[in-house]
Each structure stands twice: as structure tokens, then as C-alpha cells.
């Protein structure tokens, strides 16, 4: 059937569009010549210079540190907030959720400059602390949004039941509610982690001199033109992402709870 082949060709075209730039980056990361255009033989030297690059390794360190810290803190505050909110009056709940939505709906640049204005006005020096704080600020809403739907379904009745059976409210939370919403907590944490790793705009406005993450480093390098080290870095990140996704896919297949395609699609929308 002609129609079938048109469809396939079209899809192939779209995938070529998506992958061609990445493929070119990967190919050039092994190119001995510094100029992009010409192939001057195979080399691994850009990977060597990449690892010797102090700025990049410090950026990588800050990226991971901020991601781990901000995702953890955001998960703690966010889960507590989601549980607390679920027991408040619907009117208050709705009002709080609307405010909670603001960082999700606002473009990053607005969140970034708003926080920068705030930090500078209260006299905090921009740097690691402010960047971490900013990441927590934009991570919490996503944690709440991934935990809240699960709470609505189960928590209130289960908590009552636990307390009827003699549990204190805190015991009921620890033993009944938290295990019940655990998948939501996990996905909230993962979303927060990936958002933090990927963030550029908000970090860009809220960090100070000497502290940058990978995105900021790539931006300042790319602004000065094309650098072979960035190609090597891209290749490594691409492989990491590919392995991670394959890993998640295999795991969720084994777990078999959720149709993994959908799960992935839903998660990826966040990034």
C-alpha cells in the first residue's frame, strides 16, 4: 500500500530531523581537526581535554550537587505540603494550589528574574545558595502535583481507619499514607531531579560568579562559537541518557505495573 509507505517515510523523516544534529555532534567529537567542516582523522583527544577542563568538571559537580539536594529537599517539603493541603478546606486547598501552579505556568525567565530581584533586594549574595534555593522553589510544585492526585484517592479514609484502630496521626501518616503514595513521591523526586539537571534559565539568573552548572557552562562556551570539547560532552551525555532510558524501560517492563510508553511520555513532558 502506497499510503502505508508514505506514513513510514514521513516518520523516518521526522526521526532523521531529530537525530541528525546529534549524530553530527557525535561524529565530530572524534574528529582530529578543530574546524567543523573537514574530517581530519579519528581522535579521542577532545575527551581528554574535556576531562582536564576544570570549569566543566566543577560545573558537573555543581549540577549533580544541586540536583540531588534540591530534589531531596523539594520532595520533603512538597510531600508534607501535599498531605497537609489535602486535609484543609477545599477553598484553601484550591487557593494554595493556584499559587503553587505559578512557577509551573510562568516562563522560566520570569521565575528566574523574579527570584533574582528578590535575592538581590534582600541583600543575599548570588551564588550556590541562591541557585539551590531557586531550584527548590521550582521543584516543589512538581512534587506536589505528582503526589496530590494519589492523596485524593486514598489518604483521608485510610488515615481515619488507621486512627480508629488506635494509631496517632503521625503513625497513621508513616505507616499508612506514605507507603500508599510512595510511587507519587518517587516520580515527584525523579521529575525534580531531571528538571534541576536540565535547568538553564533559572540557574543563569540566580547564580553568582564562580558557581555555574553544566548548562551555564555550555551556554558561555557556545556563545563564543563551536568547541570540540562540547561535542565530546554531548556524546557522553547522549550515551548516559540513552542508557538511563533503556534501563528505565527494562525495569518498568519487569515491574509491568504501568504501560511504560505512557509512563515515559508523561514523565518526559516535564523536562
Amino acid at each position: 500500500m502506497v499510503k502505508k509507505w508514505i506514513g513510514r517515510l514521513y516518520a523516518l523523516g521526522v526521526f532523521i530531523f531529530l537525530y541528525a544534529p546529534i549524530a553530527v555532534l557525535i561524529a565530530y567529537s572524534f574528529n582530529a581537526g578543530k574546524s567543523r567542516g573537514r574530517w581530519e582523522g579519528f581522535t579521542l583527544k577532545w575527551y581528554g581535554t574535556l576531562f582536564q577542563n576544570q570549569q566543566i568538571s566543577s560545573a558537573l559537580y555543581y549540577t549533580l550537587l544541586v540536583a540531588v539536594l534540591s530534589a531531596t529537599i523539594a520532595t520533603v517539603i512538597g510531600v508534607a505540603a501535599a498531605i497537609g493541603l489535602s486535609q484543609m478546606k477545599p477553598r484553601w486547598q484550591k487557593a494554595a494550589m493556584n499559587v503553587n501552579y505559578l512557577p509551573v505556568l510562568n516562563p522560566d525567565i520570569v521565575t528566574g528574574i523574579a527570584l533574582m530581584l528578590f535575592f538581590v533586594s534582600v541583600g543575599v549574595r548570588l551564588g550556590f545558595g541562591t541557585m539551590l534555593l531557586a531550584h527548590i522553589v521550582f521543584n516543589i510544585p512538581y512534587v506536589i502535583l505528582s503526589v496530590a492526585p494519589r492523596l485524593r484517592k486514598s489518604s483521608a479514609r485510610l488515615m481515619e481507619a488507621a486512627m480508629d484502630l488506635g494509631a496517632t496521626p503521625m503513625q497513621a501518616l508513616w505507616k499508612v499514607v506514605l507507603p500508599e503514595i510512595f510511587p507519587g513521591i518517587m516520580s515527584g523526586f525523579l521529575i525534580a531531579f531531571t528538571l534541576s539537571i536540565d535547568d538553564f534559565v533559572i540557574s543563569f539568573f540566580t547564580t553568582g560568579s564562580g558557581v555555574s552548572n553544566l548548562s551555564i557552562e555550555i551556554y558561555s562556551m557556545a556563545r563564543r562559537g563551536v568547541k570540540p570539547e562540547i561535542n565530546a560532552l554531548s556524546t557522553l551525555l547522549f550515551l548516559t541518557v540513552l542508557l538511563l532510558l533503556i534501563g528505565i524501560n527494562l525495569l518498568s517492563k519487569r515491574g509491568g505495573k504501568k504501560k511504560n510508553g505512557e509512563g515515559l511520555a508523561e514523565q518526559s513532558l516535564m523536562v
Partner: protein, 272 residues
């Protein structure tokens, strides 16, 4: 019953401190100058130079959104129409580039479009003259489409995937041809996905300053670049805040328009 609603307390304070106050500060900086109410920052924006920047931002964002829709819809349909195994594989292939760092994805186009880039090298091999592919509107739109296409495809895919297939069969049984099925059944039912796709592409596209800076060059101005410049180069916080307010209004208007189409879906497209 003793409740644990106090657990939300810290976050309520937090929201006031880090969400509400910073946004109010933008508003204050936009309308106050040296302690008095002033619309000077807004009237400064009314100069043709700046209005042009706004118009260009909105236009390029609309253009990219339209391209994403026309390229992405068939792609989403194609993926949704496969069998489960293939479908999941295709979805994953779609997601891999998206999980790569946003800046690297944009940077990738610099290596393709540059004067010594691959495309110009290829033209050279064919004996054609090199073209200036970078530092123009086309490059910026290309960067936007490349970066935001998945934001269009995924919500549309989600709606198509969850669509009740018996509706399509029913339409066929009642005599609709494939064009009829598409225009009368599939397309109207996928409107919520289209609407959220449009919002999700338009919003980052209209507010970007990275794509325009890297692919448009240092002189290239979109509204995002204008904001960035006011805060980080000029140090004019009043003007920068006023432009941000205008950007917020543009986005609120676009979301207002789109939310009309999103009604009637039970959170199907929201990512969580």
C-alpha cells in the same frame, strides 16, 4: 479528629516568600520609579524598536508553533497507530533527544548551519555557493521547532492513544471515508491535545533568549533577550520588569485562548 494539616504550614510560608513576593516585586519595579507610581517603563516600551521586538517574538513563536503542529500531528498519529511494541520503541526514540541538555540540542544546530557547517560543506561539494544559514529568522525558527516539537507530539499522541477506537469504527460503519473520519471524529476529539501542545510550544518559544542568542547571533533580539539584557547588561530593572509584565500578559492571553479548547478533558494531557 486530630489533623495533620499543619504539615502544609512551612510551604504556605515558603510560597509567600519565594513565589508571591518575587512576582509582586516584578510588578512593583514595573510601575514604580524612585518611590512614585510611574508608567515611564511602559511608555519606553512603546518605542518602535521595542514594539518590533515584541511583534517579532510573537510572530516567530506562532510560526514555530504552527510548524510544530503540522509536522507533529501526523507524527503523533503515526506513533499512536502502531502496535504496542513498536509504539513504545518509537516513543522512546522520540524522547531520547528531548532528555539531552536543551543547550546542547541548540548548539548542535550551530555545527550544522554555520558557515563552515556541514550543510555548507555539502553545498560546496555540489559546487554551490555557501549560504548564510545562521544568524537569521529561519535559523531561530528551526531551533525552536527542533527543541519544542516533542512538546507538541506528546500531548497529541496521548489524546489519540486514549481515544475510543469504536467511535472511528462507528463513523466508518455510518459511511464516512477516511477524510470524513479525520475531520469529523479524530480531529475534533484531539482538540484538547492540540490545545495543550500549542500552549506548551508557544510559551517557551515566545520567552526564549537562548535559541535567539545562539542561532540568531549577538545582535538578534527577541523579547527574552530584551529582558535578559535589561537585567544583566543595562541594569535597568524597571524597564526589564515592565517588559516581563508584558511577556506575562502575552502568555496569559495565549493560555486564555487555548484553555477554551482544553475544556472537557479530564486532565488527560497534563503530564502527571
Amino acid at each position: 479528629m486530630k489533623k495533620t494539616s499543619w504539615l502544609a504550614g512551612p510551604y504556605l510560608v515558603w510560597m509567600g516568600l519565594f513565589i508571591v513576593i518575587p512576582l509582586v516585586m516584578i510588578l512593583v519595579y514595573a510601575v514604580m520609579e524612585e518611590g512614585t507610581l510611574s508608567i515611564e517603563a511602559f511608555s519606553k516600551f512603546m518605542q518602535p524598536v521595542y514594539v518590533k521586538v515584541l511583534a517579532r517574538s510573537v510572530w516567530l513563536a506562532l510560526l514555530s508553533t504552527a510548524i510544530c503542529l503540522f509536522v507533529g500531528y501526523p507524527a503523533a498519529m503515526f506513533i499512536a497507530g502502531r502496535e504496542k511494541g513498536v509504539r513504545n520503541l518509537l516513543l522512546m526514540l522520540f524522547l531520547v533527544p528531548m532528555w539531552m541538555n536543551f543547550l546542547l540540542r541548540t548548539y548542535a544546530w550551530m555545527t550544522l548551519l554555520g558557515n563552515n557547517g556541514l550543510i555548507n560543506r555539502f553545498l560546496g561539494l555540489l559546487g554551490l555557493p555557501a549560504m548564510a544559514l545562521m544568524y537569521n529568522d529561519v535559523a531561530v525558527v528551526l531551533g525552536m521547532v527542533y527543541n519544542f516539537l516533542p512538546f507538541m507530539v506528546l500531548p497529541i499522541y496521548t489524546v489519540l492513544h486514549r481515544m475510543d477506537q469504536s467511535l472511528i469504527e462507528a463513523a466508518r460503519d455510518l459511511g464516512a471515508g477516511s477524510a470524513g473520519v479525520f475531520t469529523k471524529v479524530t480531529l475534533p476529539l484531539s482538540m484538547p491535545g492540540i490545545a495543550s501542545g500549542i500552549t506548551m510550544v508557544f510559551m517557551p518559544a515566545v520567552s526564549t533568549f537562548v535559541i535567539s542568542r545562539l542561532l540568531g547571533g549577538g545582535q538578534y533580539m527577541l523579547i527574552g533577550n530584551l529582558v535578559e539584557q535589561q537585567f544583566l547588561v543595562q541594569g535597568d530593572w524597571n524597564f526589564g520588569s515592565a517588559i516581563s509584565m508584558i511577556l506575562i500578559v502575552v502568555i496569559l492571553v495565549s493560555m486564555g485562548i487555548m484553555s477554551r479548547f482544553e475544556k472537557g478533558q479530564e486532565g488527560g494531557v497534563t503530564p502527571w
